[in-house]
C-alpha cells in the first residue's frame, strides 16, 4: 500500500495504490487522521490504484468522512474501480459519500 498526497486548488488529493484490508487499513486511517487534525478537511481520495477493499476500508472511510464533515469539510472519492464500487454499493456507502469519475471532477466539486 502506497500513500501519496497532492495539493490541488486548496484540496488535498490522497492517492492510494494496492489493497485495503485489516493489515493495511491502520496506516491509511492514521494518514487521513493526521491530515484532518492538521486542518486539511477538503479531501479527495483517489482510489484509481486500489483493486481490493474489505470492510476495513469502509470503516476507515466512514470514520474519516465523519471527522472531515464535523470540521466543515468533506471527503470525496474519485476513480473508484468496479470491484471496489461493488463493495461501496452493497454496503450503502454510495448514498453517504460523494463519488466522482476522476480526480479533477472531485476537486472541482469543492468549488
Amino acid at each position: 500500500m502506497n500513500i501519496q498526497d497532492i495539493q490541488k486548488n486548496g484540496v488535498t488529493v490522497v492517492q492510494f495504490s494496492g489493497s485495503i484490508d485489516a493489515l493495511t487499513a491502520p496506516a491509511i486511517t492514521e494518514h487521513l487522521g493526521g491530515l484532518i487534525s492538521s486542518g486539511q478537511i477538503r479531501l479527495v481520495v483517489d482510489l484509481g490504484g486500489v483493486d481490493f477493499t474489505s470492510s476495513a476500508g469502509l470503516r476507515l472511510l466512514l470514520g474519516a468522512v465523519k471527522d472531515a464533515r464535523a470540521g466543515g469539510g468533506d471527503l470525496r472519492l474519485a476513480a473508484v474501480q468496479p470491484d471496489v464500487m461493488k463493495v461501496l454499493k452493497i454496503s450503502g456507502f454510495t448514498n453517504i459519500l460523494k463519488l466522482f469519475e476522476n480526480v479533477d471532477d472531485a476537486v472541482a466539486s469543492f468549488g
Binding site: 485489516a22 493489515l23 474489505s54 470503516r59 465523519k66 454496503s91 450503502g92 448514498n95 453517504i96
Partner: protein
C-alpha cells in the same frame, strides 16, 4: 468434474493477502469470472479477519485452513480455525439506510459475506470451527 484446493496459514493479518492470492491463482486456471473471484476474495478475507481479530483473541495465534472445491457451476468454500467459536448469525446487521452520523463502524464484514455468498453454515466442535459457503456462477 471438480478440483479441490487447500492452504493453511498462520492466523495473522499478514496472511490475508496470501489467502486472496491463492484464490486468484486457483480460479485463474478454471476461467472463473472476475467478479466471482473478487467476491470470493472478499468473503474469505472478511471471514479470516474475524478469526484473526476475534477467534484467536487472548490465545496464541493458531492457524486457518482454507479449502475450496471448484465445480462447473459453483465453488464450495470451507474455512476452519481452532480459536473461540463465533456464531455469525448472532451478529447484528448494519443499518444501510442510517444517516452518515448514525452509521456504525462495525458489523460490515459478516454482512458482506451474507450479501455475496450462498448456503452459509457454521459448525463449532472440539475439532475446530468451520465456516462453509457456496458461490454459484455461470461458466
Amino acid at each position: 468434474m471438480s478440483q479441490r484446493f487447500q492452504i493453511t496459514r498462520a492466523a495473522e493479518l499478514e496472511s490475508l493477502q496470501m489467502f486472496r492470492d491463492f484464490i486468484a491463482e486457483c480460479c485463474a486456471h478454471h476461467n472463473i469470472p472476475n467478479e466471482i473471484v473478487f467476491e470470493l476474495k472478499l468473503a474469505v478475507d472478511e471471514a479470516c479477519t474475524n478469526i484473526i481479530q476475534h477467534g484467536y483473541k487472548g490465545m496464541d495465534p493458531g492457524s486457518i485452513v482454507l479449502a475450496f472445491r471448484i465445480e462447473p457451476d459453483r465453488i464450495l468454500v470451507q474455512i476452519t480455525d481452532f480459536g473461540h467459536a463465533f456464531e455469525p448469525a448472532s451478529a447484528p446487521a448494519p443499518d444501510l439506510n442510517a444517516a452518515l452520523e448514525d452509521r456504525e463502524l462495525g458489523g460490515l464484514g459478516l454482512f458482506l459475506i451474507y450479501q455475496t455468498m450462498d448456503n452459509i453454515d457454521y459448525q463449532a466442535s472440539q475439532d475446530g470451527n468451520t465456516l462453509t459457503f457456496t458461490k454459484y456462477y455461470r461458466p
